[in-house]
């Protein structure tokens, strides 16, 4: 039945995990496969309810996370926009297939609601311990896109962003959220259709017999037809030539691997999303992401009230690491503070960019508790 179109934005009171689902559906996601795990399970539960109600939507609960990622790779190859969500232990199981997603250039979105670790760790406590796992968890050398969200509204927005980047660059995109954001309930605004962009993978326009599935293009991203659409080609996790067949010829192997990096590295401004708060004249700057960025934002405001010229660089993209934005900060600031709920997984990226120019202080907390604004403020006012 046709419903009258609402003129105003829809506002809902939602969990971070619910916002991920809203964002995914807005981005055109119509396939979910996965395995439940705390604290990400709500994403799967709501998908099980919502997907059968949308045309062409499909949902399947697999026997494990390996199966979950396998199934969404299959679905994506068959032309669907596919999502899976998990938490640390499940994300570990997905790593082999994640590499398969990279080498076969399959658009995928994986949401990892991080919990304390290692191992079964702290199932319902927040942590940011999977940052480097997201970057380097799978074997081999590869480029990857890792995003984060620091509040419920951002869960929605960054999920849309994740799907867009996955489709645009034909690559798996990982969205890292921590347990606090996933389980916080906040008012969010669901944007109208004309307020956000949805990007779909480029389809081939040439006749099937001319199509080479892994041929170089201007953007480095070959067009991708769905299985069953008339373009029959081979998909393999083996290093392949432009036709998709396994090769070990050094020139073909090198060209292929370099293109996988290049297709992402030449579009860094499009991928590296950051938000700068009070950084114009900042003498001390905080670099933070996830829920910690929220604490940092308040700490920066409080520090300003106390006369400290503080600023915040909020990372929405974690990898490829936003080097430019970090460098810009270092030209001005005397010191950088990197608070994280791990022992320093992003601060090592910051230090790498910094290369000894300014003082980098870290605040690390691994007790299953959030880093509070007061803890950041204390460091901000002492520098």
């Amino acid at each position: 039945m046709a419903r009258p179109k609402k003129k105003h934005n829809k506002e809902i009171f939602a969990l971070g995990n619910e916002a991920v689902v809203e964002g995914a559906l807005l981005a055109g996601c119509n396939f979910y496969a996965g395995y439940p795990i705390t604290p990400s399970s709500e994403i799967m539960e709501i998908m099980a309810q919502r997907l059968p109600t949308i045309p062409n939507g499909a949902f399947v609960q697999m026997e494990d996370e390996i199966g979950g990622l396998g199934a969404i790779i299959g679905a994506s190859l068959a032309g669907r926009k596919a999502l899976t969500a998990t938490s640390g232990p499940g994300f570990s199981l997905m790593q082999e297939n994640l590499g398969y997603g990279c080498i076969t250039e399959t658009p995928l979105v994986i949401v990892n609601v991080m919990r304390g670790g290692p191992s079964t760790g702290l199932p319902t406590s927040p942590a940011q311990g999977d940052v480097q796992q997201a970057r380097w968890g799978t074997h081999g050398d590869h480029s990857i896109i890792v995003l984060s969200a620091s509040n419920v509204q951002e869960c929605l927005e960054m999920t849309i962003e994740a799907f867009n980047l996955a489709e645009k660059y034909r690559t798996p995109v990982i969205l890292l959220i921590d347990e606090i954001t996933a389980h916080t309930r906040e008012k969010i605004i669901i944007p109208n259709e004309d307020e956000y962009e949805v990007f779909n993978r480029t389809l081939p326009t040439m006749p099937p017999e001319w199509y080479k599935p892994y041929e170089e293009t201007v953007r480095g991203v070959p067009p991708m037809p769905a299985i069953g659409s008339g373009y029959r080609f081979h998909v393999t996790g083996l290093t392949h030539d432009v036709n998709g067949f396994p090769t070990s010829r050094p020139d073909e192997v090198r060209e292929f691997n370099e293109r996988l990096f290049r297709k992402i590295d030449q579009f860094l401004p499009d991928i590296q999303l950051v938000e700068e708060i009070d950084t114009e004249d900042a003498e001390v700057a905080v670099i933070a992401y996830g829920t910690v960025a929220r604490s940092a934002e308040l700490a920066v405001k409080q520090a300003r009230a106390l006369g400290v010229k503080a600023g915040l660089l909020k990372l929405k993209t974690l990898f490829p690491y936003p080097r430019k934005a970090t460098e810009k900060l270092m030209y001005k600031a005397k010191a950088i503070i990197v608070p994280e709920m791990n022992m320093g997984q992003i601060s090592r990226e910051v230090k790498r960019v910094n290369n000894g120019q300014v003082s980098v202080r870290t605040i690390n907390k691994v007790d299953g508790q959030i880093i509070t604004p007061a803890e950041i403020l204390k460091v901000l006012t002492r520098i």
Binding site: M1, F31, A33, L51, P52, T53, I54, P55, G57, A58, F59, V60, M62, E63, D64, I66, G67, G68, L69, G70, A71, I72, I73, G74, A75, S76, L77, A78, G79, R80, A82, E96, N97, Y100, A226, I227, G228, S229, G230, R232, F233, H234, V235, T236, G237, L238, N243, F245, P246
Partner: protein, 278 residues
């Protein structure tokens, strides 16, 4: 459909831009399976675009690359999960999975039993050569007790899996066992597996002389085919033989044939109800 015969049929379905020769050793049964699969697809009159071959890792995994269908060569043991995604996304497509014994019953054992339980509309061909061929001849979950391999130099001590019993117990809609020596029967089993709704399994006994045969007192690949000929017994005849006299005989034929709807059929029916009831 039967106007193209023998090698002509191969020309119709092989990929001409693929670099040959193939990876299979002399005496390997996998090429025979590929021939049988092509004849089955051709016999059923399926459109190439409507067929997706999903393969795992190992010798059997390479089979997909040679044929002109939608083909996906997946990670080790996970072919069934990829196939589940493809079938759920494209329920009208014929999704055929090609796996080895290690692929399907060791690393992918969990996926096999759950694909059967879930009754996803996929046809699984399990190419059982009782050994890990491509990795150099280590024992597999179907290496018979007492057999020699690189990792059982004193003889296999573990029990082996019976693929048919495993899949039957897990709830597959269609379960059959054939061999590369009995090709005509194999053709009909594969055809029946493809057309039967829900999850279908065809276990195919396919000898590996290079890795299994030469370590287990077979003088030549021909010996292995002779062994297949004498061991593989049609199900009805097998049942008629008293248990004590069965010896090394292996029953072959169709063990299970049910017509329960596949998961994808049930899902889209449910989804249609959800969308219609709005």
């Amino acid at each position: 459909m039967a106007d193209i015969k023998g090698t002509q049929l191969i020309h119709e379905y092989l990929r001409h831009n693929k670099k040959f020769p193939h990876v299979f050793c002399a005496g390997c049964g996998h090429g025979i399976v590929l021939g049988s699969l092509i004849r089955s697809i051709h016999g059923l009159g399926l459109a190439k675009d409507n067929v997706c071959i999903v393969a795992g890792i190992g010798c059997s995994g390479r089979l997909a690359a040679y044929v002109d269908f939608n083909t996906v060569h997946t990670t080790h043991g996970r072919a069934l999960t990829f196939a589940t995604g493809i079938k759920m996304a494209k329920p009208n497509m014929h999704v055929i999975v090609v796996m080895g014994d290690g692929d399907s019953m060791a690393i992918g054992g969990n996926h096999l039993i759950h694909a059967a339980r879930r009754n996803i509309g996929v046809t699984a061909l399990i190419l059982n050569n009782n050994i890990y061929g491509m990795t150099g001849g280590q024992c597999s979950p179907t290496t018979p007790a007492g057999s020699y391999s690189m990792t059982t130099p004193m003889g296999q001590m573990e029990q082996s899996f019976d693929c048919v019993e495993l899949c039957t117990a897990a709830g597959a809609n269609y379960v059959a066992r054939g061999s590369v020596f009995h090709v005509n029967k194999l053709d009909s089993m594969i055809m029946e597996g493809i057309t039967n709704p829900g999850f279908g399994v065809v276990e195919i006994l396919s000898p590996c002389f290079t890795q299994y045969g030469r370590k287990n007192k077979f003088k030549s690949p021909v010996d292995m085919y002779h062994a297949l000929k004498s061991k593989v017994t049609p199900l009805e005849r097998f049942n008629a033989i008293p248990e004590a006299e069965r010896g090394e005989r292996v029953p072959s034929g169709v063990f299970v044939k049910k017509d329960k709807p596949g998961l994808e059929e049930k899902f889209y029916e449910m989804a249609a109800r959800c969308q219609g009831g709005e």
